[in-house]
Point group: C2
Amino acid sequence: MTNPTDFTDRELDIMGVLWRLGSGTVADVQDGLDRPVGYTTVLKQLQILEEKGAVRHERQGRAYRYHPVTEAQETGGNALRRLLDTVFDGSAEMALARLVSEAPPDAREIARMRAILDELDADAGESEGDDEEEA
Amino acid sequence: MTNPTDFTDRELDIMGVLWRLGSGTVADVQDGLDRPVGYTTVLKQLQILEEKGAVRHERQGRAYRYHPVTEAQETGGNALRRLLDTVFDGSAEMALARLVSEAPPDAREIARMRAILDELDADAGESEGDDEEEA
DNA sequence: GCGCGAGTACGAAAGACTTCGTAAATAGGA
DNA sequence: TCCTATTTACGAAGTCTTTCGTACTCGCGC
């Protein structure tokens, strides 16, 4: 991973396309990839991913349509945890600093990110306040 | 993918130890790893990492002491960018949501994370104001 | 100076990943 | 029905990773 996850690099490329599209045929995925890869190569990867339980397929006309089974967010979470542990020394703060420098969010996104932090405070407050409410 | 970077999974394990310790001998790194790995295996990885320019070594007594050359933050940044692109659909907000659910920060850390976002607003304000100042 | 033990160098074996060639199957139209 | 184009199935080749065994080296103590 310089596998960020449970997936290998190429598998992650494929999953990325499926997550973005929602689902796709072999040709769809092939088109969605950044870099040119043979048709049967993509098919093979999808078959491997299916063995691993990461995707499933259904017939569509004479072709197969593949759907992701594992959620993007779950995969991302695992990868983030690994990154946090190995490179950011467990510090969410450092990770955030790097995150925003990699992809500077616009004002609206910053506002929503603040909201996420506010929500954290609220949750912390609630659990600390449980005793008071119950009393 | 799990490769999160330029490094393979095992390489990242090794680099993680070096980043944490600052530097270390082969034995130090071996001890620092979660999982048992042969001494020569660790040595070999370090030699490979040195070929790649990720670490350097200096003599210490009869042994070598290895120092990381690449920064943890840089590696983390690359990995974050990949994650952002493939699994979080380019949204720093989604990444943050997952980040805090993976490693819930305490109040002090939340405060510092807010500060990072504040800093972003400040920067955005400054650059928007550049024209006015120049005019 | 010599020997011993700690350490490094080398290379090969095993396994995983990636890629694709070729064969087989299938559906639709002539 | 039969042919063709599209698609899947299989499997093997090439490459990269990971692991470690074995041989060599070097420095320190006697």
